[in-house]
Amino acid sequence: MPSPRPDPLANSGRRVYRQETVKVEARVASIPDRIGDGPAPMPSIYRHRLPTRLWHWFNAVVVIVMLMSGLMIFNAHPRLYWGRYGANLDHAWLEIGSTPTQGILRIGPVTVPTTGVLGRWTDRRGNISTRAFPGWATIPTDYSLSAARRWHLAFAWLLVLPGIAYWLWSLASRHVQRDLAPRRAELAPRHIWHDVKQHARLRFPTGEAARDYNVLQKLSYLGVLFGLLPLLVLTGMAMSPMLNATWPWLLDLFGGRQSARSLHFIAMAGMAAFIAVHVLMVLLAGPLNEMRSMITGRYRLPAPRHGEEA
């Protein structure tokens, strides 16, 4: 539960750059959201432009298809290696497997029983399966490497081409530079730590402070846009034997094909973690307001919590 005690530091770090965002004011219409005697209505701002909204939803579908079809592809050989080669007789640093009675996940020397979820689970017909990832997490549901590859390698184009278009737009429109790039003051460890603590207490920015992304949002959106997504695409391309002939440096960059495959999997796990936290934050921060802002673009600044200055 958020503490009702006013926190004098709550907005201090953000006031520093407040004047830089005045230009946003031009696009702001102060529309009262409620009529009556309630608290003063909070202004609603135009937060997400059309390309952002389109790409967000399109990419949400594409990334989920990539994730689920990728898990099925992993099921064909649920072992990961470092280096140039790696097959059953070589040492795997990660393995999802099964004993005669239970499913297991092994990472390095640590083995975790995962019966019911990984390595041993019951399929929709009630049969025990010892595949790595369960049917509810994969595309298609029943084992098919070829069908999963069809999905994965076709949707890869839908990830890459619109992704590059969005990169170009977000740089050309200065969305990245203006809305996503953290300012120097925000990158101070104290400021970041303060935001981490506020998030952990579920005390999200309100009022004027919610007008811009906070530093944790900026870093995670930048991390996905310019970190995880390109890493996923490049490690994916590094696994292509034909592209290895075209761009051998890609292999060297990642330390070999099996290292690229491991990094592809780790980046996928990072992407899945981002999605989980992102959806959780939307649910906690006010799902209707957040969803509306990503559908219509309009975002109502959250009202200050009781006892806080607006």
Partner: protein, 250 residues
């Protein structure tokens, strides 16, 4: 006001719908055709970016896998093959025919006298694993040039001695890959005669493609104008039986 619980419930049912929807889409022929468009696009893009002679990476002897994993057929079941294996493939004949000017029948001894290429390359199974080994064999180009591929030929089909249910294994590649300098019919692995489990006496190495293109136990090389009459028409055993991609460059 919609509650969070309702929203989560909506999300979960939308997820369920997505899942069953995906399975229904996978089964739909027109959607499958659309997905196959991705393969066509990948092939075109990769061919555009890749010089037709660009070489697959080659490795040092020290970078080889300690054990080169054998996969697929470990030993063809036919009595005929067993007899050939028993006398060291001395009577094995490789046929080169189809759309060629001079059909060939060559023995392993003759192949052994032809120029050989040795290359240490990585084998990438479609399942995801890789193994690095040293292959020695005759460049396919030499055999095709000797036979004289006719201008009408577009593909090279490999007919194999191993059975997969009622059919024998077969694969095909186009002429770009058939005449590639690293495309060889290998008779040696890691300095020794090719073991039976790795495809003795001859296996295709087509280094810029996934493992299932590397046909083992090759007994006939056929030049054809079209793949329509080969097996189910998709160009290979796994392509026909399980809808794997014919273009296996990624």
């Amino acid at each position: 006001m919609i509650s969070r619980r309702a929203l989560v419930g909506f999300g979960a049912s939308a997820g369920g719908l997505l899942l069953s929807g995906c399975d229904r889409l996978t089964a739909s022929p027109s959607f499958r055709e659309a997905l196959q468009g991705g393969e066509a696009l990948s092939m075109r893009a990769q061919r555009l970016l890749t010089d037709r002679g660009a070489l697959a990476p080659e490795f040092d002897a020290a970078q080889r896998s300690p054990v080169f994993r054998a996969n697929g057929t470990r030993r063809p079941a036919s009595a005929d093959y067993a007899a050939h294996a028993a006398n060291g493939f001395a009577d094995w004949r490789l046929r080169v025919d189809g759309l060629v000017a001079r059909p060939l029948r060559v023995s392993m001894a003759q192949i052994g006298t032809m120029p050989a290429r040795t290359q240490i390359t990585r084998h990438d199974c479609v399942e995801g694993w890789s193994a690095i080994g040293q292959w020695t064999g005759v460049p396919l180009k030499l055999l095709l040039d000797q036979a004289g591929v006719r201008p009408a030929a577009r593909y090279i089909v490999f007919h194999c001695a191993d059975d997969y249910g009622p059919v024998r294994y077969y694969e095909s590649i186009d002429l770009v890959d058939a005449f590639h300098p690293q495309t060889i019919l290998a008779w040696g692995l890691n300095g020794r005669r090719l073991p039976v489990e790795n495809g003795a006496p001859l296996r295709l190495r087509v280094e810029r493609m996934l493992g299932y293109k590397h046909a083992k136990y090759v007994e006939r090389v056929e030049a054809v104008a079209s793949l329509a009459a080969i097996g189910g028409g998709q160009g290979g055993y796994w392509e026909d039986s399980n809808d794997y991609e014919w273009y296996a460059g990624i």
